[in-house]
């Protein structure tokens, strides 16, 4: 019994140390993030000079993989076609959809069969047909056999013509200047091989014809919880890492990549469901190994809006998949951990992700078990247990509050005061139930990864971004 007590005590110490180290890490990342945001804000208040937006930016291929996206694909493509950029093409890849995705596209954009000389540089499932729009000559649709998202993106890369490609989800809405913003790191630093942008949630906003007219707070609490999560995830989890070139994720929802570098690294991997993160980590690993100078960057401006699931089942599937994707990405590129010569990605970011992303749900889950035992078993320190719980809750609330503050200081996307207060409330409330459920899902994700479960396209129940996702919000309060 004494040994057991000692183990419990040691674990309690481990939890305390874990939270303290994590806090220090978060403070450092927050400081880096604030530096990036502050620099961005300095220039945001001045209108961008026209000569900086000249018509000679490098052309971009926008690749949109789609599977059963009948409801959203037309609005999404319309939104992309309206982007403010001199020279770009849109390559939609219909990955063997079983619904009317192709028909919807054909009808909306008057698609015609196009004799594409397919340039197969990456492995992908056979292409059934290539179509081009009669109304928008820069829109190409590839119809191929089903092979998963990674396979669809690879096919899109094969069909793309330009040196940079931007991969976006079919359920995304882009800001009109998103390509102009995300191409800037490529212009400013020729070593840039990939650049991500901040993805926000469109739930509660007003959308018309593929354009976001107004940002708002959703009525669903589930979506509200995810808004705070996205703020934390995108503002802290990613942006801060870009400065020391340690960014390990360029979101599949929006990311600009240098095509030849991606092809050099082998393109997107079919056997993983976290193909976006896996590719980013692999690019770090391979480019460093080959001694190629490179940078993986991030732009802080909100450039892409996506719809969050508002039902528990879809959310659960999404989170389980995300955790599996994370596990696969880290495992497949484990050779990067402390690889010589040292760099931020392999020596700081990778271990950090292992400790605080991969292992976090396990540690937290074990913490809850310990807590339950401490509270229920006789002869244990119930007060310490409650205090431990309090620290965990406060820690979560602090991270959320920090994310909301950072957003308020920079982009203040949510204009109403009530929304700001609601975000704080959500940051507190998510710690009672939502966070614990998330931990369970993530543990399930780790379990599925250990069992070697295969992936495919995630199924998402959507309301559809072609229409108003929620009631238009009331006018700003005064």
């Amino acid at each position: 019994m004494e040994t057991f007590q000692r183990v419990i005590e040691a674990f309690t110490w481990f939890l305390i140390a874990y939270v303290i180290v994590f806090s220090i890490g978060q403070v450092v990342i927050s400081a880096l993030t604030y530096g990036i945001v502050a620099r961005s804000m300095q220039f945001r208040s001045v209108e961008v000079a026209e000569f900086l937006l000249s018509a000679s930016e490098p052309p971009i291929s926008v690749v949109v993989p789609a599977y059963n996206e009948e409801l959203t694909i037309v609005a999404a493509v319309r939104s992309i076609l309206q982007l403010r950029y001199a020279d770009f093409e849109v390559v939609v890849v219909n990955d063997g959809s079983r619904d009317g995705t192709l028909a919807a596209l054909t009808e909306a954009f008057e698609l015609e069969v196009f004799p594409q000389a397919y340039h197969a540089r990456l492995e992908a499932r056979p292409v059934r047909g290539v179509y081009r729009s009669a109304t928008n000559p820069n829109l190409v649709v590839i119809d191929k056999e089903n092979g998963g998202k990674a396979d669809a993106i690879n096919a899109g890369i094969n069909a793309s013509r330009y040196p940079l490609f931007c991969c976006i989800d079919a359920d995304s809405i882009l800001e009109r200047d998103s390509l102009l913003r995300v191409v800037q790191p490529f212009i400013e630093d020729s070593r840039t091989v990939a650049c991500g942008g901040t993805v926000r949630l469109v739930n509660g906003g007003q959308v018309r014809q593929g354009r976001l007219l107004r940002v708002g707070m959703p009525s669903s609490w589930l979506a509200r919880f995810q808004i705070v999560e996205y703020l934390r995830g995108f503002l802290f989890g990613r942006m801060g890492w870009s400065r020391p070139n340690g960014l390990l994720i360029i979101s599949g929802a929006f990311g600009l990549m240098h095509k030849d570098s991606v092809i050099e690294c082998g393109g997107y991997r079919h056997e993983t469901i976290g193909e976006d993160m896996e590719l980013t980590v692999r690019m770090h690993r391979m480019l460093r190994k080959r001694g190629r100078p490179y940078r993986i960057s991030y732009v802080p401006e909100p450039v892409c809006w996506t719809e969050a699931p508002e039902d528990w089942k879809t959310l659960r599937n999404q989170r389980v998949r995300w955790q599996r994707g994370l596990c696969e990405s880290l495992w497949l590129n484990r050779g990067m951990l402390f690889a010589w010569p040292p760099n931020t990605a392999g020596w700081v970011a990778f271990p950090y992700f292992l400790l605080f992303e991969w292992a976090a749900p396990l540690v937290e889950f074990a913490g809850y078990l310990l807590l339950a035992w401490m509270l229920l078993a006789p002869g244990t320190a119930a007060q310490t247990a409650l205090l431990l719980l309090l620290v965990a809750v406060f820690f979560g609330v602090m991270l959320s509050t920090l994310a909301v503050l950072l957003d308020e200081l920079s982009f203040h996307v949510y204009p109403r005061r009530r929304d700001l207060l609601l975000l704080f409330a959500v940051g507190v409330l998510e710690n009672f139930g939502y966070r614990q459920i998330n931990v369970l899902w993530r543990v399930q994700g780790i379990w599925q990864w250990m069992r070697g479960k295969q992936g495919g396209w995630g199924v998402m129940q959507r309301k559809g971004i072609g229409e108003a996702v929620a009631k238009p919000p009331a006018p700003p309060s005064t």
């Binding site: 002869g379 320190a381 620290v391 406060f394």
Partner: protein, 432 residues
């Protein structure tokens, strides 16, 4: 202007005070000290903790104990004014508990401070926006009146409104022509914009410096040349480009010199540089040609790209000269691209010469250039490139064949060809 920092400072002070109050237990101060400082907070947060804040129990070490267990064995708690307390009550031995309590309080204080800072930031922003709206409402009719030639009196300008006025003035200036420009220049003179802009250029915040650069450019202020040159040399993407652009508008000679320096320092957006070079008028090609002459083979591709983008026929002799004896693939391909765009029949020989070059980039640009400057008899020279191993070479060759022979010739070539890649590519360019 001055109210915002004061409020932010207030929020930060509150935050720091919270931190200092919570550092006690972590730095070794006893729980009793914390209780003296914040008894109500402690009670509110950890009601159970008060039961444990007692003198040490011998031989307990760091082992975990239940509250009930400890409470049963504890001596009576001395009152605050007892001699024991006055002599400094012994501290609780459970360091783990103390640490957690301190950490929880620290986090709580941080949350409260962050919350207050956010609310203050929101309030400050709304105040600033309101002030700017009121300022615009007051000044816009004045500026429009002056543009129309009305002798409107300028309202008093507060110190914290000066940058707002510069922004508004630049905004209005972007939409006016002819006499209205003179009227806006009079306003600038009356309000001594030149002095203010020079001051901001030297010691303003980054965004204020950008505004100042645009103002000195609009006023063609010669005194700004030296500080602008300094800004160019700092080689920061936004401000260096803005500074070079301002220099070009004030003095093309200084602007070209600055751009020349910039080109050797960094490899920035060619489009942005070309747009600026064009605003500088005549002389851009000459400056680039001079710069190119100083660069060794292999280092001239960025400058050659700019020459190609300038669309100036005066660049053709420079390009021809650079191509002679050049062994760098990058440079050759850029030159072929430029000669295809700007050159004439004289460039045909050069394009043919590079059709079987080992570098695919060079082959691609040679095929493309031949489509522009070639003759119908070059058709047979291009046909083998349809079977090239590289997609882009096949694509450009097919496009050139279409240009030289027309759709009928391409259709014929498709029918005669047995190579699948060639057929696919000809089919594609036909459909395009």
């Amino acid at each position: 202007m001055h109210r915002l920092p004061v409020r932010l400072r207030g929020a930060l002070l509150a935050f720091l005070a919270g931190l200092l109050m919570q550092w006690g237990p972590l730095c070794g101060a006893g729980e009793s000290d914390v209780l003296l400082l914040k008894p109500s907070l402690d009670l509110a947060l950890v009601p159970a903790a008060r039961a444990e804040i007692q003198p040490p129990i011998p031989d307990e070490g760091l082992a975990l104990r239940s509250g009930r267990e400890i409470a049963g064995r504890l001596p009576e708690r001395p009152s605050a004014d007892s001699p024991q307390a006055a002599a400094g009550a012994p501290r609780h031995p459970d360091f783990q508990f103390q640490l957690l309590t301190g950490f929880a309080l620290f986090l709580f204080a941080t949350i409260v401070a962050l919350l207050i800072t956010s609310l203050v930031a929101r309030w400050s922003r709304e105040t600033a926006e309101g002030r700017e709206a009121r300022f615009r409402k007051r000044w816009e009719p004045v500026l429009y009146g002056r543009m129309a030639g009305d002798p409107v009196l300028l309202p008093p300008l507060a110190r914290n409104e000066r940058v707002l006025l510069l922004k508004l003035w630049l905004h209005v200036l972007g939409y006016v022509r002819d006499e209205a420009i003179d009227a806006m220049a009079d306003v600038a003179k009356e309000l001594e914009f030149s002095r203010l802009a020079l001051h901001l250029l030297e010691s303003g915040a980054p965004q204020e410096r950008l505004i100042a650069m645009r103002v000195v450019a609009a006023l063609r202020l010669k005194e700004a040349i030296a500080p602008l040159q300094e800004k160019v040399e700092q080689a920061r993407p936004h401000s260096s480009l803005e500074a070079a652009n301002a220099l070009l508008q004030i003095s093309p000679e200084h602007g070209f010199a600055a751009l020349r320096k910039l080109l050797t320092l960094v490899d920035w957006a060619p489009g942005a540089l070309v747009a600026m070079l064009k605003t500088g008028g005549q002389g851009a090609t000459g400056m680039l040609a001079d710069l190119l002459a100083t660069l060794p083979q292999g280092a001239g591709a960025p400058v050659l790209r700019l020459l190609a983008l300038l669309d100036d026929y005066a660049a053709v002799p420079v390009l021809r000269e650079r191509l002679r004896g050049n062994a760098d693939d990058q440079e050759i391909s850029v030159i072929l691209h430029a000669l295809g765009k700007l050159g004439g029949a004289a460039e045909r020989t050069a394009a043919i010469e590079f059709l079987d070059h080992p570098g695919w980039l060079v082959r691609m640009q040679a095929a493309s250039a031949l489509g522009e400057v070639g003759l119908p008899e070059d058709w047979e020279r291009l046909r083998p490139l349809l079977e090239d191993s590289h997609w882009w070479v096949r694509y450009r060759a097919a496009q050139s064949l279409l240009k030289l022979g027309g759709p009928d010739a391409v259709r014929r070539a498709r029918a005669e060809s047995s190579d699948r890649y060639a057929i696919d590519m000809l089919h594609r360019v036909q459909a395009e």
